[in-house]
């Protein structure tokens, strides 16, 4: 008994340390974004000047808009393609299915640096070059495996007899998918879409490789700015991004129960 209690206490300490380790840097950054001093002087003097400065920083604003566009298009494409792939894997038995399932996942396991280089080489070779369109392609390839994982997990709880019932009642494949299958997996698809958005919006390495000069996304622009010299404006934009990410995360958890069945 005594040992168990001691162990439980130890667990709590460990948990607290974990949370501190994860969130203290973020909290400090958020706090500093509201500090008038650009030299991290304490105590904090409340100010929103860095946010005001942000409003005039066209580069960061343009990069943010680019990021949102790329992420939005990536989300639509990756979710549609990934969901279609999940349905195919779920419904049909075909030659090479296992191989194909395996081939869908390397973007998760191969280092981004290598994927980025490979894509850059390919896009130049076929004459497409760099730019937001190249970035979208790269992000779709990266986000699709996540979509497949999340949607497939949801499909596991779907009863194929429902599709058979719908077909026996005269529904075409399209009607079956739209009216029976998709409504059931919709929470999974929503969660997958949010994942895809996050994967694209946060992506730095591949975006860095594929961005054309003068046209970049937010993470790339933040990196470039830091290299030129740090300003608390970065804290401000980062705080905004974290805020959006947290909202997204809440959205995901609404649809997708982590590590368990819904």
């Amino acid at each position: 008994m005594q040992d168990n209690k001691r162990l439980a206490k130890l667990g709590h300490v460990y948990l607290a340390l974990m949370l501190v380790f994860l969130y203290v840097p973020i909290i400090i950054m958020a706090a500093m974004s509201f500090n008038d001093s650009n030299l991290y002087r304490l105590p904090i003097e409340w100010s929103t000047r860095w946010y005001a400065a942000l409003a005039h920083n066209d580069k960061l604003i343009d990069a943010s808009i680019n990021s949102l566009w790329v992420a939005a298009i990536t989300t639509v494409l990756a979710t549609a393609l990934g969901t279609a792939a999940s349905l195919a894997f779920f419904r049909y038995e075909f030659r090479g299915k296992r191989l194909l399932q395996l081939l869908a996942f390397p973007p998760i396991t191969i280092p981004w640096l290598i994927i980025g280089t490979a894509m850059l080489t390919l896009f130049f070779w076929i004459g497409m070059g760099r730019g937001l369109h190249a970035m979208v392609l790269g992000h779709v390839a990266l986000a699709m495996p996540y979509v497949i994982i999340v949607v497939s997990a949801r499909l596991k709880s779907f009863d194929l007899a429902l599709e058979e019932a719908a077909r026996s009642l005269g529904a075409s494949s399209w009607q079956v998918t739209m009216r029976v299958t998709l409504p059931w997996i919709a929470p999974g698809v929503m969660a997958a879409a949010l994942f895809a958005f996050a994967v694209s919006f946060d992506q730095f390495v591949i975006s860095y490789f594929l961005s054309a000069p003068g046209v970049s996304t937010l993470p790339v622009e933040i990196y470039t700015s830091i290299r030129k010299g740090f300003t608390p404006e970065i804290n401000a934009i980062s705080t905004i991004v974290i805020g959006i990410s947290m909202v997204l995360l809440l959205g995901v958890s609404r649809f997708y129960r982590f590590g368990g069945e819904r």
């Binding site: 429902l162 019932a165 719908a166 077909r167 026996s168 005269g170 529904a171 009607q175 029976v180 059931w184």
Partner: protein, 355 residues
């Protein structure tokens, strides 16, 4: 309504022969039970009629026209699945209306026909409920209403009662039969439950290991099983083994058994007679059988099960155990260990092929 014909259909899954040259007719407006143990091919045959599986060889006709190239959604069938397969995201009304809605039926017509269907299955007033708010029996009725609302050519039932408890099952047997008669739809019912097959159907087909063993009206198949398999699968049966002699069966202990049907086997070859437990009369071994034409043999009571209105005896005869089913007319019971004499009419002895 339609007539469905199966012509020489075979199907192999990997190494397993699911159906082996099966032919049969499903008559217009009749209730047909496909009976067999699991793995007999009955579900495969049903799924082929639906269009979920396709035959390796042979053909399936509806009203004389081949449906071999018609996909499920074009076959105009109604099907009730084992676990009902109700759409969980739709309420009862939308579930039933699904078949009409995918056909583009207008709203007033849909409402009218869904109403009719729900009335037919006695579920009026539940149209706003979700499937998970219904009892097993109610789900069953929704599934049936959904399958019937489009006026399909044929109704396919895949063990629809197996998920229900006993009391509800008996109720649904009666209901299903009433609805089928009201609608007059050709119905094919897959089951492994011989009692369901007997009580509900106009026609029974017994399948075993991918082959159609026997077909016919319930009474005929019950009274005249053509094989040891159908004798013991449909109802209970005592099988007496011996050898053929002069169209009769000589038992291992030398007794002679006369049969309803003449045995065409040559003398000396193995022969089997099937006798239903309820056809046998049991008496004290000191009494003699009045009618000398009756078959008889002597045995010993091993055990008995008293069920109030009836009794089932287990009788040891040579090395075999025979079952005898008697109505409790006298209130007397032959105690275990009592020597008894069993007798029955030659007409109730059916020589069957042994497989």
């Amino acid at each position: 309504m339609a007539q469905v014909s199966i012509r020489g259909v075979s199907k192999t899954f990997g190494q397993m022969k699911a159906l082996d040259d099966v032919s049969c007719e499903f008559a217009n407006g009749k209730f047909y039970a496909l009976l067999g143990p699991s793995g007999s091919g009955k579900t495969t045959l049903l799924r082929m009629i639906a269009g979920f599986e396709f035959a390796d060889s042979g053909t399936i006709l509806m009203d004389g026209e081949s449906v071999d190239n018609l996909p499920v959604e074009k076959r105009d069938i109604g099907m009730v699945f084992q676990n009902y397969a109700l759409f969980p995201n739709m309420n009862v009304f939308d579930n039933v209306a699904f078949g009409l809605s995918v056909r583009g039926t207008d709203t007033t017509e849909t409402a009218r026909r869904v109403g009719e269907s729900l009335e037919l299955v006695k579920l009026e007033g539940l149209d706003k409920r979700r499937p998970h708010q219904l009892s097993g029996g109610q789900r069953q009725r929704v599934a049936l209403a959904r399958a019937l609302v489009t006026n399909p050519r044929v109704l396919l039932l895949d063990e629809p009662l197996s998920a229900l408890d006993r009391a509800l099952r008996v109720e649904m047997e009666v209901e299903l039969r009433r609805i089928q008669r009201d609608v007059g739809i050709t119905t094919i019912f897959v089951t492994h439950d011989q009692e369901e097959a007997l009580t509900m159907s106009d026609h029974i087909g017994i399948l075993n290991a991918g082959r159609m063993v026997q077909e016919g009206p319930p009474l005929q198949v019950y009274e005249h099983p053509n094989s040891a398999f159908s004798a013991s699968f449909l109802g209970d049966s005592n099988l007496l083994h011996g050898t053929a002699r002069d169209g009769r069966i000589t038992l291992t202990d030398g007794g002679l058994i006369a049969c309803a049907n003449r045995i065409d086997e040559t003398d000396g070859s193995p022969a089997t007679g099937s006798i239903r437990p309820e056809k046998i009369t049991i008496m004290d071994s000191k009494d003699s059988v009045a009618d000398p034409d009756r078959n008889s043999l002597d045995g010993t009571v091993v055990s008995h099960i008293f069920a109030g209105s009836s009794l089932t005896y287990q009788i040891r005869w040579n090395d075999e155990i025979l079952r005898v089913f008697v109505q409790n007319l006298s209130g007397d019971i032959f105690a275990d260990g009592t020597p008894v004499r069993l007798s029955w009419k030659p007409d109730d002895t059916v020589a069957v092929t042994h497989d």
